[in-house]
Symmetry: C2
Subunit: 201 residues, 2 copies
């Protein structure tokens, strides 16, 4: 990834693939976006599939390591929840097209996805589950399968971005209001999710 042309191609491919998906993307559109000749795409990446793979791989590498690293920090569950929410939402704000792209291509091409994600799965998420169980045993957290909680946490962070068009319609948000909603969500969701696991006295 040192070459200037190669970089321009990757950037353009990222743009087009993330916006249109594999099936909707056109090699010509990527070439136009990169302001180069279409043959260059094949010169550097041989096929559409290989170019796509490079983009997918990079997309996965952008998002997963950052997420995973939080799970293993030595802080309380509550701090972890707050940090996770803030970090995750900030990452997606910086890459708003990523969730749709990843979740759609993951469903469409699970084998490909599994292949590229394998480098990034660690035991970190399991550590989170263990920590939850330990703190729950002390009596401060409700007894729930931590996996169920974890999925709710992740889903609540990602869903507003995947469902943006629907949310804008139902809540009658314009773009600015949607942006404010997301900004406010970092703290609101932290509070909500921490309260969700706290046991009532």
């Amino acid at each position: 990834m040192e070459n200037a042309t190669e970089l321009k191609i990757i950037e353009a491919a990222k743009e087009v693939f993330q916006k249109k998906g594999y099936d909707g993307a056109r090699m010509q559109e990527i070439a136009d976006e990169a302001k180069i000749n279409k043959a260059m795409l094949h010169y550097y990446f041989r096929t559409k599939e290989r170019l796509f793979d490079a983009v997918l791989q990079q997309a996965i590498a952008t998002i997963f390591p950052k997420i995973m690293s939080i799970a293993q920090e030595e802080i309380s569950i509550e701090d972890k929840i707050r940090k996770f929410v803030h970090t995750y939402i900030d990452i997606i704000i910086a890459n708003p097209a990523l969730p749709n792209f990843i979740f759609n291509e993951m469903t469409q091409r699970p084998d490909k996805f599994r292949k590229y994600i394998s480098h990034h799965i660690s035991s970190n998420s399991k550590m989170f589950m263990e920590q939850y169980k330990r703190e729950a045993a002390k009596g401060n957290l409700i007894e729930i399968e931590p996996e169920q909680f974890f999925i709710s946490l992740v889903g609540s962070c990602i869903f507003p971005f995947i469902g943006k068009p629907l949310i804008k319609i139902i809540m009658k948000f314009d773009d600015k209001e949607f942006q404010n909603f997301i900004e406010a969500r970092k703290e609101a969701l932290s509070v909500l999710m921490i309260n969700a696991v706290k046991k009532k006295k």
Copy 2:
């Protein structure tokens, strides 16, 4: 939608479009799935786009009215949360390909989506927000923007289906275990979300 051939086409188109998306779907594949000649597709629906529209419209009509109706029932917020979670998850279990299809096409073709969903948006969701504020004023619920809570609720129901391949990898679930996870989720998520809004004494 009275003709037998037309019905076969719609069913086949639903299958293929929901699985592959608009761009990934092929008219020939739909014809094969319906066991008819490809020209029939155009005879009954003129173009790929119109056939797609019929499928999208039906998909939206399948899922939205059922959801929306719950919001206006005259039951407490807590009962509403539980009923919403159970109903929503049951609907998606019955139509597992719908979330991915709808959320992806909604992002890809927001105008089309807006057009077909307009019949189904009601003031019901607003009624939920008002109810939340009323019950919060009594002091039993935490003070959070109800919109933030509502999005978490919906996201937590839908996300496991959108993220199924990822969840299976991270949690090391096989299909049976994933199914059990979803079954257990109906009650676990109800408990979690009700606890999330309950104020600590």
